[in-house]
Amino acid sequence: MSPKETNIEKRTIAVLVDNEPGVLARVIGLFSGRGYNIESLTVSEVDQRKSFSRITVVTSGTPQILEQIKAQLDRLVPVHRISDLTNEGPAVERELALVKVAGTGEKRVESLRIADIFRARVVDSSHDHFVFEMTGKSDKLDVFIDLMQPLGLVDVSRTGVVAISRGPKGL
């Protein structure tokens, strides 16, 4: 194995962009075209008046690759600012999942019990299914979904990670 493939790190990067057509394709194309990893990517408009969107991307690579990713993102024309949330001090990361579990009897009761422990909310139900809504760090969502597996898990929808730095300073 070459030294390039060792010490892989995970980073969460926030990118503030002009909300213009094709901007997301530009970011995604950059990752695929240069062979970078995307573990999660979210995007939404965050300032309608100024027409800013915020992209949160979770990626992994060697420190050299990660620096490249940031430099490459920063030189895209519609990018205003980028921030390496993992590296630039503490940050809060959250993800939302909708989890559908179908079943009856003991399994159904058990799923509700676990949902309660995880502070998941029931957002839809019938006699033979629940849809749970849960927010938290990604690994917590992973554990919850794993636990639902034997109890009749039929569908999962996750938002991907959104993140923001701790403390009073903005991006």
Binding site: A25, G29, E67, Q68, A71, P78, V79
Partner: protein, 587 residues
């Protein structure tokens, strides 16, 4: 106050005029007819009709590189845009400022698989610096002016503006002049932090074996970039090497010039890179053709890297002191800091360094023997250089062996005289590029140094050259092989010459004749000088078919996967240093 009512097409022309554009290269088609109609009714902008859209982009590249201005292209939707893709990628790789206007089907038909529809912004997104699809006429003036700003600021590059036909035909009073447009997000850093400049001059002052390694960034910084580089390097008395893109950035006749570096660079340049203790990279990007084997690249040097593009830093080679900024501005600041700090170099060490370099130089790595009637390609190119060097000459090239020989044997004294496809390596670049150069410099001597294979890739542009009577000289180094492919097959694939022979070549003299140009063919070394002079003195386009020895290879050469100190010096060397398995994978 609202300005007059203009159609979208008229606004396009007005924007171009306001941006100082005097010529555009293009090819009409359904979607851009409104622009062609507006062009017809004005006299400010000349249109050069190419014969294929790829030629338009290369012509604009030649124009841009020889003038320092933005090259402008106008093509239609669908195939017009897709044909432009190679040229756009070429301009992106070589950082050439281009604005390419593409027609598009009307907005209500976009996505309907309409006639001559292509997803132009989708296709060109990875091969442009930026691109736009104009969906409202109100955005058109802003987008036009922004495109020029983006194309030429920071690291230059191509920008595409996709223009749906209904936008071109619509009318509005929304036109605004360029001065009123400020880009929201794109503000590249052009001045370096002063403390980095200070650190850099300190490192240089402490060097015992320094070398300047400079690239296209110096050329893109304008004439001032080369002036300042030359001044600084001469002041220091240190060696300087240029990349393929950087040739002309430092005067080649200067004794401090080591020639080009890299895969086919000189022995002295590559060994100076390998053995230096401080490397000053200005506007070059540690391309794989330059570095060779990465883990043995200049192993003992402290590296300073000046680049306007932060993503060039630490991309291939980790550097010790990155400096973000425009090459000219950084050089100016370095000279100022050097003078102010009253720095000097260790003259004794420098003398020893030069003695070492002179020893490498004495190998005379570009030597060849010309004997008898058959013309060696190196000799053809060297004679072409000797007979044109005292003139106002511009050189373009195609891609392959002839390109490397031109880079080795031509000596460029100033920037913007050398136009070659460096990053992308586009065969067929040179002829249309020469058109663009000649259009910009009508009275200059413009020569496309070509190979017989490359020239056929855009040979249709002879028709364009004939139409505008652009007196371009096409100098074909004809060895009847795709020479560089053949060279690699010889070195790496057991001399199995798969599909690299140039069969069924045209009679280039008759071909020239058919376009009403002058055709010449030279087969005897004794005739070469006379015929080159005749070519130069012909005030019309000339196709010069120079028959050369077929099996010459380009040396010296750093084989793929090898380091700078493992160069092959000539044919006798190649058996002694077989290419590694690892190297075979590399291109």
């Amino acid at each position: 106050m609202a300005s007059e009512q203009l159609s979208g097409a008229e606004m396009v022309i007005k924007s171009l005029v306001d941006q100082g554009v005097e010529v555009i290269f293009g090819y009409p088609g359904g979607a851009v007819l409104p622009i062609y109609d507006a062009l017809f009714q004005q006299n400010n902008i000349e249109h050069i009709l190419v014969r294929q859209e790829g030629g338009a982009v290369h012509a604009a590249e030649g124009y841009a590189r020889s003038t320092g201005k933005v090259g402008v292209v106008l093509v239609t939707s669908g195939p017009g845009a897709t044909n432009a893709v190679t040229g756009l990628t070429d301009a992106l790789m070589d950082s050439i400022p281009i604005v390419c206007l593409t027609g598009q089907v009307p907005t209500h038909l976009i996505g309907n698989d309409a006639f001559q529809e292509a997803d132009t912004t989708g296709i060109t997104r990875p091969c442009t610096k930026h691109n736009y699809l104009v969906k409202e006429i109100e955005n058109l003036p802003r987008v036009m002016h922004e495109a020029f700003y983006v194309a030429q600021n920071g690291r230059p590059g191509p920008v595409v503006i996709d223009l749906p036909k209904d936008i071109l035909q619509g009318k509005s009073d929304c036109y605004v002049p360029p001065e009123e447009i400020k880009h929201r997000s794109y503000k590249p850093q052009i001045d370096a932090e002063p403390n980095r400049i200070e650190q850099a001059v300190k490192l240089i002052a402490g060097a015992k074996r320094p070398v300047f390694y400079t690239g296209g960034g110096v050329i893109n910084a304008g004439d001032r970039g080369s002036e300042l580089l030359t001044r600084f390097v001469r002041k220091l008395g240190v060696p300087c090497t240029n990349t393929l893109m950087g040739l002309g950035g430092f005067p080649a006749s200067d004794p401090q010039f080591l020639g080009m570096l890299g895969m086919h660079g000189t022995y002295e340049a590559n060994l100076a890179m390998y053995n230096c203790d401080v490397m000053i990279n200005i506007g070059a990007r540690f391309d794989d053709r330059v570095t060779g084997r990465l883990d043995e690249f200049s192993p003992n040097s402290t590296k300073i890297h000046v680049d306007i593009d932060p993503s060039s830093i630490n991309k291939n080679i980790m550097v010790d002191l990155p400096i973000i900024g425009d090459a000219a501005r950084v050089l100016e600041a370095m000279i100022e800091a050097w003078d102010k700090g009253d720095y000097t170099l260790d003259q004794k060490a420098l003398k020893a360094w030069w003695a070492q370099i002179d020893e490498w130089r004495s190998k005379d790595c570009l030597a060849y023997t010309q004997k008898g009637k058959l013309i060696k390609p190196q000799y053809a190119i060297q004679r072409l250089y000797e007979l044109t060097k005292d003139r106002d000459t511009y050189i373009t090239t195609e891609v392959g062996q002839h390109q490397m020989w031109a880079a080795q044997y031509f000596k460029f004294e100033e920037p913007k005289r050398w136009m070659t496809s460096g990053g992308l390596g586009t065969m067929g670049y040179g002829l249309p590029a020469a058109m663009g150069v000649q259009r910009a410099h009508r009275d200059s001597l413009v020569i496309d140094v070509a190979g017989e294979a490359s020239i056929l890739m855009n040979i249709q542009e002879l028709s364009c050259i004939a139409q505008y009577n652009l007196p371009v000289k096409v100098f074909i180094v004809n060895n009847q092989w795709m020479g560089m492919v053949r060279q690699w097959q010889e070195l790496l694939h057991g001399a199995r010459y798969s599909e690299s022979y140039s069969a069924s070549l045209p009679d280039f003299v008759k071909l020239a004749d058919s376009f009403g140009m002058v055709g010449m063919r030279c087969e005897d070394a004794a005739d070469l000088d006379g015929m080159i002079m005749e070519m130069i003195d012909t005030p019309r386009p000339v196709v010069f078919d120079c028959a050369v020895v077929q099996d010459e290879n380009v040396f010296p050469m750093i084989p793929s996967g090898a380091a700078h100190n493992q160069m092959l010096m000539g044919p006798e060397d190649k058996a002694a240093k077989p290419i590694s398995e690892e190297g075979m994978v590399l291109v």
